[in-house]
Amino acid sequence: MVRRHTVGQHTVGQHTVGHSADVVFVLLCLQAGLGLLGMVGLMLLMGSPPHAVGSVLKAGALLWLAAKVVRGRTWALVATVVVEWAGLVGVWLGALLGLLPGLTPAMTVTGLLTGVGLPVAIGWLCARQLATARRGTRVEPPTVPLPVLVAR
């Protein structure tokens, strides 16, 4: 029996949706870890506990969203898209701030990956999953027989 799973109000095949959620879960956990590492960078110079609060809260929220995305909650997908979109706005604000005379936009390969690539990838995966849920259909039929997946 193929057990079906609810994504918000919509019932969709679990095979593809579940695996997309796996990727989102990993990327959100990585993003949480990166945020906590960033908190250390802030604490190194500022050394005051209030500067850790925002990062800890955001990391906690990302991990919570990761858990909920895996369980197929539509609101978690929407919230994740919003969070990632806000992160991208922050990148643009940083670029605008860099136009001030005393500052310059600083670009690195890793900065592009974590500041743009990661949010875009997470947002795109979540948006695609939401679109699938809205259509009430699978993104694509599973190409591996279920017993193989179960046995994995």
């Binding site: 956990c29 990166l34 110079l45 500022m46």
Partner: protein, 388 residues
């Protein structure tokens, strides 16, 4: 340093072919849609990331022949392993356990090299480590299949990802700081006595590549010594902290420690560059009720404009890419992975150059001072701090 310069400067010359190889593989996968043959998104991602890592390692095997046969063979072996695992993931075969083991081995090797001063972490190495962290996450996270929810395994996977990110980032950070703060004399040579290729763009520090790798000429050495002497004479009047305050220098966000920077807002906007009479910042050690003047920081008026280098490779400028926090206001160091914490944005500063006026082991143009040496110096020579 403008954004494009900072992007390119962060890539070590010997790693540039690896970066190009990664871009080529991404382009090839976009055209052929190679990973899409995998049975599910997790395997597609894994196949794509493993293929990228394989390509980078393969090219690094070819470009690291000078580092010895062991390093080259190690890169070639890991490239083969990653390529094989990419094929397994795409084919829907078992790939997770060997991938996790290979990633752990590769990351451990990378950290051992950067921690052992084998090489400074650059953007290609760090980006590859980031990709490997995602592969590790995909390998350890359990599938969300309804019969396989396994919440404990999922929590464990999250913990592994968090800890691995912290460990890799922390070691790379320490290595990058050690490279920047090393108290070696600035003379155009690196710590092994080899010519520096000069540029650097990671973990909060941006350094323009030098004009050409060379020793300082006699004229450049004399110019550097002259600037240091004039700086030392001009700021002697600020030996007492209260004299600096009276002259208009203001403390920044940090007012205790071995590197307290006092800024003069007027000097920052006066259009003068490298003027010992009007330094933009003074650096003090302020600890235990004692303060001692350590040196100055000359800062360019405008970010992105290169500073003059009268001493050639001796008088090198650097900038910082910082995290500017909004809630609460503050400044942080960008992580090795180029990101900032929540509620903060990244921006680069104007170029700056330290000139130390104390008898530190690295001389007047060392990139940084050893904190332990500064504490000892302040304990011996610090003047009583007058409370404001």
């Amino acid at each position: 340093m403008n954004p494009v310069e900072s992007l390119l400067t962060g890539i070590a010359p010997e790693h540039a072919p690896g970066f190009v190889a990664a871009l080529l593989v991404i382009g090839w996968m976009a055209v052929t849609r190679w990973p899409l043959a995998a049975p599910d998104p997790a395997r597609r991602w894994a196949a794509a990331l493993l293929a990228i890592t394989a390509a980078v390692h393969l090219v690094l095997a070819l470009t690291h022949q000078h580092a010895g046969a062991l390093v080259a063979v190690g890169f070639a072996a890991s490239a083969t392993g990653y390529g094989w695992l990419a094929w397994l993931a795409r084919a829907g075969r078992r790939w997770r356990l060997p991938a996790a083991l290979l990633v752990v081995a590769t990351l451990a090797g990378y950290l051992a090299v950067v921690a052992g001063n084998g090489e400074e972490p650059d953007q290609v190495g760090l980006a590859t480590a980031l990709v490997e962290l995602v592969i590790l996450g995909l390998a350890v996270a359990p599938s969300a299949q309804p019969f396989h929810r396994r919440p404990v395994a999922r929590v464990a996977a999250a913990a592994v990802i968090l800890m691995a990110t912290f460990l890799v980032g922390g070691v790379a950070w320490a290595a990058a700081f050690a490279a920047h703060d090393g108290a070696e004399p600035a003379d155009g040579l690196d710590k092994h006595g080899a010519h520096e290729h000069g540029g650097r763009s990671q973990a909060g520090v941006l350094v323009r590549p030098g004009p050409a790798a060379h020793h300082a000429t006699g004229q450049q050495r004399r110019a550097a010594a002259d600037l240091a002497a004039r700086t030392s004479a001009a700021i002697a009047r600020y030996a007492r902290l209260d004299a600096a305050y009276a002259a208009g220098f203001k403390p920044g966000l940090k007012n205790q420690g071995t590197d307290v920077h006092l800024e003069h807002p007027g000097h920052k906007r006066d259009g003068r560059v490298l003027d010992p009479e009007h330094p933009e910042m003074l650096v003090y050690a302020i600890e235990g009720g004692r303060a001692s003047l350590l040196g100055v920081v000359y800062v360019m008026d405008e970010a992105g404009r290169p500073g003059p280098e009268p001493g050639g490779p001796v008088t090198r400028w650097h900038a910082h890419n910082l995290c500017l926090s909004v809630l609460p206001p503050g400044i942080g160091v960008v992580t090795p992975f180029g990101n900032c914490p929540a509620f903060s944005v990244t921006a680069g500063t104007a170029e700056m150059m330290h000139v130390w006026v104390v008898d530190n082991p690295g001389g007047p143009y060392a990139e940084g001072l050893d904190a332990a040496w500064v504490r000892e110096h302040n304990g011996r020579n610090g003047l009583p701090q007058v409370r404001r």
